[in-house]
């Protein structure tokens, strides 16, 4: 599974950071930082899907 994060769409809702701190950190201003380089470890696939399904700005997408 691949995960993509669009910084330009992010408004700092921080839903991803709450749901999956293994995948997302936040910067000092509360914008998300994707912690991995796109390929989601198998054990985190469900969490990755959750972050995509709960982003109010559609800034996160997963494929596969």
């Amino acid at each position: 599974m691949k995960i993509n994060y669009d910084r330009s769409a992010c408004q700092g809702h921080n839903r991803c950071y709450l749901l999956a701190p293994e995948l997302f950190d936040v910067d000092d201003e509360g914008y998300a930082i994707l912690r991995i380089d796109g390929e989601v470890p198998a054990e985190l696939e469900e969490k990755a899907r959750l972050t995509a399904d709960n982003c109010p700005e559609y800034a996160i997408t997963v494929e596969g």
Binding site: G12, N14, L18, G30, N54, P56
Partner: protein, 412 residues
């Protein structure tokens, strides 16, 4: 200001500042979503109500056609001028908006807010202990809004801003005038206004800064220039206004729900992993805040021809119940897994305090669930709860009967 004449028709003459609206809002939104879908009123100088998620989202993301120069629909007109507005950054438009917002992002980031959690938890525990003590002497009678929910954000915000916690009644009175009946109260003496109240504290902090947010703002600079008094006053007013009724409403509405759904109360107690999902569902289903915009350039939305200087309400609570955007939208699903709710708004004006509000709601519920094993509404009738009018919706009184309590741990 004169009292408003009675409404003739929801879709063409709505008045969201009336009790009739407040008591029936979710049903009214539903008829709008299925019908108009953009309602209109000539009141307030002309105002639109786009009820569907798609339209709300489009407006929230469109800062070209919609200005934030005034965000509380009222009888007196617009309070400030674009692009700064009365209370930056909520009343600001780009590019100034981004500058004013950046000054505040760090103190409201999730990691900064986490530091406030222990004090918030102590506040909640103390309030519950006091409430249960009184309830034990009166056959279980308590008011979950008056005795509990309303005090939590007041104490948290007072702490954050460095204002006296004992001034809670004052804060609530200022806020009531501004939010619940905007422009409809008798003029008050100039010394008895929110701005006058804040000016004395801002002057004190300029002279003797501390580690509170008012001091942070008095030290802040834009392009090497300190913020003017108007900017600091407006922003502090915003933090006070935006942080209290809203969170109080969310906590109160969540407790209103739990009073009627003992199964949900039990699940929250027995399944700690459920809480993060439940908090978001409470926020979706009982979203308290409707924002507003002013049309900056003519545009057609949902078939409605919006003209320059029309008001437009942004009803995030209605968007959150749109079946086009949510599965089983009209049902409260406590473990909802797909929940892109818009309780904190969408786009560049996403609620600055969302991390604080979410923390307060979670901690308030965690502490309630840990202390109250069973409770019910004191009166089951449809009007047993008074919902606030205007753009922030929540139960202002919530009479309950406490049926069973749990032993409370010592407050650390």
């Amino acid at each position: 200001m004169a009292a408003h004449p009675p409404m003739t028709d929801w879709a063409t003459d709505f008045d969201h500042t009336t009790t009739e609206w407040a008591q029936n809002a979710p049903e009214i939104w539903e008829t709008f979503r299925d019908g108009c879908p953009v309602a209109h009123t000539d009141r307030f100088g002309g105002c639109w109500f786009p009820a569907r998620h798609g339209d709300v989202s489009a407006i929230a993301h469109d800062t070209e056609h919609f200005s934030s120069k005034s965000v509380v629909v009222n009888d007196l007109g617009f309070f400030g001028e674009a692009p700064v507005g009365f209370a930056p950054p909520i009343t600001s438009d780009p590019p100034f908006h981004g500058i004013a917002r950046r000054l505040l992002l760090a103190p409201f980031s999730p990691k900064a807010i986490a530091a406030l959690e222990p004090a918030t938890r102590r506040t909640c525990r103390t309030l519950i202990a006091e409430m249960l003590e009184r309830a034990a002497r009166s056959g279980g009678a308590a008011d979950a809004a008056v005795d509990y929910a309303q005090h939590i954000p007041v104490q948290v915000i007072a702490h954050l801003l460095g204002l006296p916690e004992g001034d809670g009644d004052k804060f609530r009175q200022f806020i009531h005038r501004i939010l619940e009946a905007p422009g409809q109260v008798t003029p008050v003496s100039p010394d008895d206004t929110l701005v006058a109240y804040l000016q004395q504290f801002i002057a004190e902090r300029r002279a003797d800064p501390g580690d509170d947010l008012i001091s942070h703002l008095t030290r802040a600079e834009v392009a090497g220039v300190p913020l003017g008094d108007d900017h600091v006053e407006g922003t502090v007013a915003l933090l006070l206004i935006a942080g209290i009724d809203t969170t109080w409403s969310a906590i109160g509405a969540s407790l209103w729900h739990l009073a009627q759904h003992p199964g949900h109360l039990a699940r929250l107690r027995d399944e700690p992993g459920l809480m993060p999902f439940a908090v978001e569902e409470f926020l979706r289903f009982y979203a308290p805040v409707t924002m507003a915009r002013v049309v900056a350039e003519d545009i057609t939305i949902g078939g409605a021809e919006m003209k320059v200087d029309d008001w437009v309400l942004l009803p995030f609570p209605s968007a959150n119940r749109d079946p086009e955007a949510f599965e089983q939208a009209d049902e409260f699903v406590i473990d909802r897994r797909r929940n892109r709710h818009a309780a904190f708004g969408l786009g560049i004006h996403r609620c600055l305090g969302s991390n604080l509000a979410r923390m307060e709601l979670r901690v308030a519920l965690e502490e309630w669930v840990a202390a109250v094993a069973a409770f019910e509404l004191a009166d089951e009738g449809p009007d047993s709860v008074r919902w606030s009018t205007g753009q922030v919706r929540g139960p202002r009184e919530l009479p309950i009967r406490v049926l069973e309590t749990l032993p409370m741990e010592e407050t650390k």
